[in-house]
């Protein structure tokens, strides 16, 4: 089979990329996804809070997904569901295995990588103790409760205060579980204040900052965990350890971009974001291969996923092999990473996305080129958990652009 644009993943990123590709003239746009349903992770995110930026109203995950699934169907996008992409080669030939088609290949003029992210597992955490049943990622629990209608446990401890963990604390409480506490290793929460208030405070669930799980108990089924406070170097303080009985431990300890396919292609990766290095057209180091959504960088707001993916889809539809003029972006003081990593000099203004390294109040986000400030914003607050952005004018770019977060603007 041949395609003008092939999109891997039918989550919000893949859907938006496919719609934009169609709108920008690509004839045959094919979306492949290993699941039987479209929308990626959204069908299991049944809570509201999606789409405020784009639609001006708070939708639930399934409702947000439904809008883009309708748009994609109306635009004439072809879907190949229950089709797992196994590999991509340097000639942009995709090999996939599908429920109905068996092994199949697709020759694409341009490819958009939109595989989303996966959760860090307990294996990645190296907790001592046995591996009893009852220990799972918050996302797995979300899927059990919201899609299969099965409660994974009664007495619950949650490790990590990311938004998925907070949302699940509320969800399981409403379904009758006793959520005993949420533990966070860092001295600040990784989730939105709104979620701390509405998911924990509303139900009197304590959030223990600078705390972690040091041991799991139980042979077949989890019977409890030992928790402890940590010092400034995040090492557990033994004298503070205490036993908490529980039959379920949910882990909400971070997300990592899903990028086995990109790595198989030898695309240049960013070791900080865990995603590919891209230019402002969302093109990776391989010509005609684009990346967006959580496969590129872990997003907190689906609206930004949609916007980023639209840019990728448009660029994929217009893709021609040409020599581009680039400058690099650089994460300076107070900034963990900047996406895109390269800016194409094409006359179009650019939005830079970046994350802070620490919590600051009343500081400035600043973009500089050759020492001159080309964009800045005063921020009531910056936190590692909330993505920041700055818009810069193409005309102001005369070399590398450094982004910093500083107390004063000088």
């Amino acid at each position: 089979m041949k395609a003008d644009v092939a999109v891997i993943g039918a989550g919000p990123a893949g859907l938006a990329a496919a719609i934009a590709a169609k709108e920008n003239g690509a004839k045959r746009v094919v979306v492949l996804d290993r699941e039987a349903y479209k929308g990626g992770i959204l069908p299991q995110c049944i809570h509201n809070g999606f789409g405020l930026h784009i639609f001006g109203e708070e939708l639930t995950g399934p409702e947000y997904a439904a809008r883009y699934i309708d748009m994609a169907d109306n635009a004439g996008v072809t879907f190949m569901m229950e089709t797992m992409v196994l590999s991509i080669d340097e000639h942009k030939v995709i090999t996939a295995v599908g429920k109905d088609v068996g092994i199949t290949t697709i020759e694409a003029k341009a490819i958009v990588l939109a595989m989303g992210c996966r959760e860090r597992s307990s294996g990645a955490l190296m907790l001592p103790g046995d591996r009893p049943a009852g220990v799972m990622s918050a996302g797995t629990a979300q899927r059990f409760v919201n899609m299969e209608g099965y409660m994974p446990g009664k007495d619950v401890v949650i490790l990590g205060s990311g938004d998925i963990g907070l949302i699940m604390a509320r969800r399981m409480t409403l379904e009758g579980a006793n959520v005993k506490m949420v533990l966070e290793l860092m001295p600040y929460s990784g989730g939105l204040t709104r979620n701390i208030v509405q998911c924990l405070d509303d139900f009197d669930i304590p959030l223990k900052l600078s705390h972690t799980v040091v041991k799991m108990h139980g042979k077949q089924r989890l019977t409890g965990v030992t928790i402890a406070k940590v010092d400034e170097n995040l090492n557990p303080i033994e004298s503070t350890s205490e036993f908490v009985s529980c039959d379920t431990l949910l882990l909400s300890v971070g997300l990592i971009p899903e990028n086995e396919l990109a790595m198989g292609l030898n695309i240049q990766m960013d070791s900080v974001t865990g995603g590919a290095v891209v230019d402002s057209d969302m093109q990776t180091s391989m010509d005609g291969v684009f990346a967006c959504g959580n496969a590129l960088q872990v997003h907190d707001l689906v609206d930004f996923v949609t916007e980023e993916a639209s840019r990728a889809g448009k660029a994929a539809a217009q893709y021609k092999k040409i020599a581009k003029l680039f400058v690099n972006t650089i994460a300076g003081s107070g900034v963990r990473y900047v996406v895109p990593q390269k800016l194409v000099r094409d006359g179009i203004d650019k939005t830079l996305f970046f994350r802070a390294t620490k919590v600051t109040r009343g500081w400035y986000t600043i973009a500089r080129c050759r020492g001159k400030i080309i964009a800045s914003r005063k921020r009531v607050m910056c936190a590692p958990g909330e993505m920041e952005n700055l818009v810069i004018k193409d005309a102001d770019i005369s070399g590398g652009v450094t982004v910093t977060i500083e107390e004063t603007k000088t």
């Binding site: 049944i46 409702e63 939105l192 509405q198 607050m381």
Partner: protein
């Protein structure tokens, strides 16, 4: 005099607002860095409401559950009563997005509607 603490969620600053009330009337609000916090805290103290989202069991459907939400926020004290009603409810497939699944849940005057299609 009653004193209640409310975390403002209108912006990321998250001010800790203290509201003093006398016989249900607000007499003083302190701690907010701006006017929006005063308004938010007043509603939180007098009539706190939340949008409720959950799932309802489906008979003979392509999936065992349909996701649902309250079309408007419902009073906070009715959340658990509403959950009880939602968990007792069974619907027959097909269900369409926007279908009323539980009318006037727990006497709140707010309907629970489907947020997805189930064939």
């Amino acid at each position: 005099m009653k004193e209640q603490k409310v975390t403002c969620i209108v912006c990321p600053l998250g001010c800790e607002v203290t509201v003093k009330t006398q016989d249900g009337k607000i007499v003083e609000t302190t701690g907010q860095a701006c006017k929006r916090g005063e308004k938010y805290a007043a509603v939180e103290v007098t009539d706190p409401r939340r949008t409720l989202t959950s799932t309802v069991r489906v008979r003979d459907g392509a999936s065992p559950l349909v996701s649902v939400k309250s079309v408007k926020p419902i009073p906070k004290e009715l959340l658990f009563a509403s959950m009880k009603k939602i968990n007792e409810t069974r619907v027959k497939a097909p269900v369409k997005i926007g279908d009323i699944v539980v009318p006037n849940v727990a006497g709140s005057g707010v309907d629970i509607v489907a947020t997805t299609d189930v064939a």
